[in-house]
C-alpha cells in the first residue's frame, strides 16, 4: 500500500471497494465466500483510507487529486484530504475495521446469511460514499457521494424488506434525506453562482456577503441537520437505525450521521465567512435541545437498538454544544477560545463513534443470542455472555461521561468551551447562554448515566427474564475481538487525551481563522483549556488514584475477612474443646451443626452465597425491577415532555377485588411526529391534491400545457433577444 503514497491511497481504497463489490456480486451463489470477501476486503480498503488520513494528519499538508475526468468536457471529480477531512476519515476507518470484522461473524448467522452478497456490497458502497463525502473537493463530487450514501443507507435500512416497518423506515429516511439534499443543492447553487466556481476551495472561502449569508446558513443547517439527526429533524433516525442489521446500525450511528456534523463544520462554521453570533446561538440551542430531548427519549425506550439510536441524537447534541460555543467565540473574534469548542466537538465525534459502535456491536451480540431487542426480555446475560457484558459495561460507562474513560474527556472539553467562552465573552446577555448550556450538558450527562445503568443493569444483571435470555450463548471470537479493540480505545482515548489533542491541534490550524493555544496539550497525558490556572485535567493521575482507592478497599475487606476467619477458627477450637470435655459434663457454648458447617465453609475464603431475600415470596424474574419501572420516576418528573398515557385493565371473573389478570399499557406521546410532522404531511398532501387539477388525465390538456410552454419560451427568447 505504502508505495502509493498518501495521494494515491484514497483512489486506491475506492477502487478496491468497487472491485470487491464486483467480485462479491459474481460470487452470488457462494454466500460464505462472498461474505468473507466483502467484509475482509473492506477492512483492507478502510485501513488504506486510515493510512491516508494518518499521513495527512502527520504531515499537516493537504493532499489533492482527481478521481475521474471526463475528457470531452474537461469535467473532473476532484478530492482534497485536508486536516478536517483526514480527521473524519480517521474516525471512519477506526470504526469501519472492527465493524467489518464483526460483520464476518454477524452476517454469517442463518438469519442474514442469504443476504450476504447484498449486505457486503451495500456495506462497501456506503463506506465508499461516506469517504467521498469527506474528501470531496467540489460540489458535484460531494453531491454524488452524498446521494450514493443516502441510497446505500436506505437500501440497508430496508434489508428486511418483508417487514412493513423496515420499508416504512427506509421510505421516511429517503423522503427526509431528499428534503435535506434539496436544501443543500439550493445552498451550493447560490454559492457557486456567487463564486463562479464549483470547487470547494473557492466556493467555501466566504464568497457570500450580506443577508444572503443568513439564508445560506439556514439552508445548510437544515440540509446537514437532517443527516445528523438534529432535533426536530430527527424523526427518521429512531426508525431507521434499529431497522438495519446491527453491525450496520453501528456504522450508521458511529460514522454516517457524522457526515452531517462534518458538513456543518465545513460549511456553516468555516465555509460562509466568519460566522455571525446568531449562528453560534442557533447551533448551541439546537445542540442543547437535541442533547436533552435525545436522552429523555432514550430513557423511555425499551427496545435496546432504539434506545441507542436516541442516545445518538443526544450525542449529536453534545457535539453541537461544543461546536456552537466555538462558533460564538469565532463570532466575537476569540479564535483561541473557539478552538476549545471545535476541539471538543471533534473529540466527541471520535469518542461517540467508538463507544456507540461498541454499544451497537454488543447489542448485536445480545440480539443474536436472544432473538429479541426488548430489554425487558433480557436479564442475567452477564453470566451467559461475560465478555460481551464487560465490553458493554465499559462502553456504557464511557457514554455516561465517567472518568477516566473517553466520554469524560470530550465532555470535559465541552464544559471548558462553555465556561471559558463565558469568561472571555464580550457580549452581554448572550453570554449567559454558555452557563445555561453547561447546566444542560450536566443534566444530559447525568440522565445518560441513568439511562445506561438501566440499559446495562436490566439487560445483563440479576435473573434471566425470558427463556431466550436463560439460554443465550456468548458470541464467537470473531465478533468479540472487534469489541475488545473498541473497549481498549474507550479506555485509551480517555486516559491519554493529550495525544488526541495533539492531533486535533493540527486539524484546527488547517481550518481558516482558528488558532489553538500552544499550551492546550500537557505532556500527552492531560488537557488544558485557556490558561493553566483556569482548569486542567490529567485522567491518568485520577486512574492511578482510583486504583489506589480500590487497593485500600481490598485491603480493608481482606483485614475484615482475616478477622472473621480468626474468630471462626477460635470458635471451632472452642467447639472441639467442648466436645472433648463433654464427657465430663461441662456445659457451654455449643454451635449447632449448621453453624459449624458454615464456619468451616467460610475458611475457604470465599464469600458465602445465599439466596436473595424475595420479600417473603419466591424470587423470580417477575419480581425483579423492570426497565419500565426503572425509568418511571423520570417519566413522571418530565411528564410535560413525555405526556404519558396509560391504561390499566383489570380482568376479573368473580369480583373486581380479585382480578385474574391485570393488563398495563403505557406509552409516551410522540410529540414531534404528532404536532410537527403530522400537520406538515397533511398540508403537503392537501397541496398535492390541489395540484391534481392540473394533472387531469386528459391528453388534450397535456398537449395544451406543452403548447403554452413552447409559446411562452419563444416569446421569452424573442423579448430578451
Amino acid at each position: 500500500m505504502m508505495p502509493l503514497g498518501p495521494a494515491g491511497g484514497l483512489p486506491a481504497a475506492l477502487a478496491l471497494r468497487i472491485g470487491i463489490s464486483a467480485v462479491t456480486l459474481l460470487a452470488v451463489r457462494r454466500t460464505n465466500a462472498a461474505r468473507q470477501l466483502a467484509f475482509l476486503g473492506s477492512t483492507i480498503a478502510s485501513i488504506v483510507t486510515g493510512m491516508t488520513a494518518a499521513a495527512v494528519l502527520q504531515a499537516g499538508s493537504p493532499v489533492h487529486g482527481v478521481l475521474l475526468v471526463h475528457e470531452a468536457s474537461q469535467f473532473a471529480l476532484t478530492y482534497t484530504v485536508d486536516g478536517l477531512a483526514a480527521w473524519f476519515l480517521a474516525v471512519l476507518s477506526l470504526l469501519a475495521v472492527p465493524i467489518a470484522i464483526f460483520s464476518v461473524g454477524y452476517v454469517g448467522q442463518p438469519h442474514f446469511n442469504r443476504r450476504s452478497v447484498f449486505l457486503g456490497v451495500a456495506f462497501n458502497a456506503l463506506l465508499g460514499a461516506v469517504e467521498i463525502v469527506f474528501v470531496a473537493g467540489d460540489v458535484i463530487t460531494f453531491l454524488f457521494g452524498w446521494e450514493l450514501m443516502t441510497l446505500a443507507m436506505a437500501a440497508l435500512v430496508a434489508t428486511e424488506h418483508e417487514e412493513p416497518a423496515s420499508r416504512r423506515a427506509a421510505y421516511l429516511y429517503l423522503v427526509m434525506s431528499h428534503v435535506g439534499t434539496g436544501c443543500l443543492i439550493a445552498g451550493f447553487m447560490t454559492l457557486s453562482v456567487a463564486s463562479a466556481s464549483l470547487s470547494f476551495s473557492t466556493l467555501l472561502s466566504g464568497v457570500a456577503v450580506g443577508p444572503v449569508r443568513d439564508g445560506l446558513f439556514a439552508l445548510f443547517v437544515l440540509g446537514f441537520g437532517v443527516k445528523a439527526g438534529v432535533i426536530p429533524l430527527h424523526v427518521w433516525l429512531p426508525d431507521a437505525h434499529p431497522a438495519a442489521p446491527t453491525s450496520i446500525s453501528a456504522l450508521m450511528s458511529g460514522v454516517v450521521i457524522k457526515t452531517g456534523i462534518y458538513g456543518i463544520v465545513r460549511v456553516c462554521a468555516f465555509g460562509l465567512g466568519v460566522p455571525r453570533l446568531s449562528w453560534g446561538v442557533i447551533v448551541l440551542a439546537l445542540g442543547g435541545l437535541s442533547a436533552l430531548l435525545g436522552v429523555l427519549y432514550a430513557l423511555m425506550q425499551h427496545d435496546l437498538k432504539r434506545l441507542l439510536a436516541y442516545s445518538s441524537i443526544e450525542n449529536i447534541g453534545i457535539i453541537l454544544l461544543g461546536l456552537g460555543a466555538g462558533m460564538m467565540a469565532l463570532a466575537y473574534g476569540r479564535s483561541d477560545v473557539a478552538s476549545i469548542g471545535i476541539a471538543a466537538s471533534l473529540y466527541h465525534v471520535l469518542n461517540h463513534a467508538v463507544f456507540k459502535g461498541l454499544l451497537f456491536l454488543g447489542a448485536g451480540d445480545v440480539v443474536t443470542a436472544t432473538g429479541t431487542r426488548q430489554i425487558e426480555r433480557f436479564g442475567g446475560l452477564l453470566r451467559r455472555m461475560p465478555w460481551t457484558g464487560l465490553f458493554f459495561l465499559i462502553a456504557a460507562m464511557a457514554i455516561s461521561g465517567l472518568p477516566p474513560l473517553n466520554g469524560f474527556a470530550s465532555e470535559w472539553l465541552t464544559f471548558q468551551a462553555l465556561l471559558y467562552g463565558f469568561r472571555s465573552s464580550t457580549q452581554p446577555l448572550v453570554h449567559f447562554l454558555f452557563p445555561v448550556g453547561g447546566a444542560l450538558l450536566a443534566l444530559t450527562t447525568a440522565l445518560a448515566a441513568a439511562c445506561f445503568v438501566k440499559a446495562f443493569g436490566i439487560s445483563f444483571l440479576a435473573l434471566p427474564r425470558s427463556r431466550e435470555a436463560a439460554e443465550a450463548h456468548e458470541a464467537p471470537l470473531v465478533m468479540l475481538a472487534p469489541q475488545a479493540f473498541l473497549a481498549a480505545l474507550c479506555v485509551g482515548l480517555g486516559l491519554f487525551p493529550g495525544l488526541v489533542l495533539r492531533v486535533l491541534e493540527g486539524v484546527m490550524t488547517s481550518l481558516p481563522g482558528l488558532q489553538p493555544r500552544a499550551d492546550m496539550v500537557s505532556g500527552g497525558l492531560g488537557m488544558i483549556s485557556g490558561f493553566r490556572a483556569f482548569d486542567h485535567v490529567a485522567p491518568v493521575v485520577l486512574g492511578t488514584a482510583l486504583l489506589g482507592g480500590a487497593a485500600v478497599a481490598g485491603v480493608l475487606a481482606a483485614i475484615g475477612a482475616r478477622g472473621f476467619q480468626r474468630a471462626a477458627e477460635r470458635a471451632e477450637r472452642a467447639e472441639q474443646n467442648i466436645s472433648a470435655d463433654q464427657g465430663e459434663g461441662v456445659r457451654g457454648f455449643q454451635p449447632g451443626g449448621e453453624a459449624l458447617a458454615r464456619l468451616k465453609a467460610s475458611r475457604s475464603r470465599r464469600p458465602r452465597r445465599v439466596p436473595t431475600w424475595g420479600c417473603g415470596g419466591e424470587l423470580s424474574a417477575r419480581t425483579e425491577y423492570t426497565a419500565t419501572a426503572f425509568s418511571k420516576p423520570l417519566m413522571m418528573i418530565f411528564r410535560a415532555v413525555y405526556r404519558p398515557t396509560r391504561q390499566v385493565e383489570a380482568l376479573a371473573e368473580v369480583s373486581p377485588y380479585f382480578p385474574q389478570e391485570v393488563r398495563y399499557h403505557s406509552e409516551i406521546e410522540p410529540t414531534f411526529e404528532r404536532y410537527v410532522y403530522g400537520p406538515l404531511v397533511r398540508r403537503v398532501l392537501r397541496m398535492a391534491d390541489g395540484m391534481r387539477v392540473l394533472q387531469a388525465g386528459s391528453l388534450h390538456a397535456y398537449l395544451a400545457y406543452v403548447m403554452i410552454l413552447v409559446v411562452t419560451m419563444v416569446l421569452l427568447v424573442w423579448w430578451r433577444g
Partner: protein, 318 residues
Amino acid sequence: MTPAISDALPTIGLAMLQVAGMLAVAPLLKAGIRRMKARLQNRQGPPLLQGYYDLAKLLGKEPVRSETASWVYAAGPRVYFAAAVAATMLVPVLIAAAPLEAAGGILLLVGTLALGRFALATAALDTGSPFGGMGASRDMTIAALAEPALMLGLFTSALAAGSLNLGGLVRNVLQHGATVHPADLLAFAGLFIIVIAETGRIPVDNPATHLELTMIHEAMVLEYAGPDLALVEWASALKELLYLTLLVDFFLPMGIATSASPGAIFVALLAWAGKVFLLAIAVTIAESTNAKLRLFRVPELVSISLGFAFLALAIRFL
C-alpha cells in the same frame, strides 16, 4: 523517570495522609449528626464513636453475597469506595492546594463521584431484589436532577474566582479576601440543598429508615452485608464529609494553611473542624425541622436550588 517519581513522592505522601485523615474522621461526622439529632428530640443518642463500632463490626462479619449476583455486585462497593477516596485527593482540606491538583478540578471531582454512584446503582440491580432496582432508579433520578443545579452552583462560584481548579479557587478567594456578595449567599443556599440531596438526608432521603416506600440510598444497598456494606457505609460517610468540606472551600476557606508550617496547619485543622461542625449543625437542623418529601416533590426542591444558582449567576455577572 526517577526524578519524576521522587518529585511525585511528597504529593503521594500528602494524598495518602489526607485520605487517611478524612477516612478516620468521616464516621465521627455521621455519628455526631445522629447524636445531635437525638438531642434535639430529647433522646440520648448513640455514643460519638458508634460509627467506628459499626464499621468494625461490619468488617469483621462473614462476607455473604447473593447467589444470583455476578462480579459486578462485588465490584460496586469497591469502585464506590475507590471513587470516594480518589475524590478526597482532589479537594483541599487543610492546605490551600489539593494533593492531586495535577489531576484536575471541579469537573473531575463531580465526574469521580458520578463514577461511584454509577457503580453502586449498577451493582444494586444485580441481586434481583426489587429493592435494589427501586433504590438505583430513585438514586439515579435524584442525582440526574441535582446535577445541573450542582454544576451551575459550582460554576458561579468558580467563575467568580476565576478558576475551576479547587486549589486555584481557594487561593483566589483567599487573595481577594472575604466579601459577602449576595451572589455568594444564594449560591451557598443552592449548593446546601444539593449537598442535602446528594448525601441522602431529610427532606430528600431518610438515612434512618428501612421502610420500603421511602428509602432511596438504603434500598440500593439493602442486600449488602459484612465487609461489602462496611465499604459502602464508610465511603458514604467520606462523601458527606467531602461535600461539607467543599462548601467550606468554596465560601469560607479563611484559615486554611497557605504554607506547610506546622503552626499554620494546626490553625487550619481547628478552623476546618469548626466550620465543618457548624455545617453539621446546619444539616442537623435541616433534618430535624423538615419532614421527608415525597419523591415527586423532590424536583421542586431541586429546582429551588437551580433557581438560586441562576440568580447567583445573574447577580454576579449581569
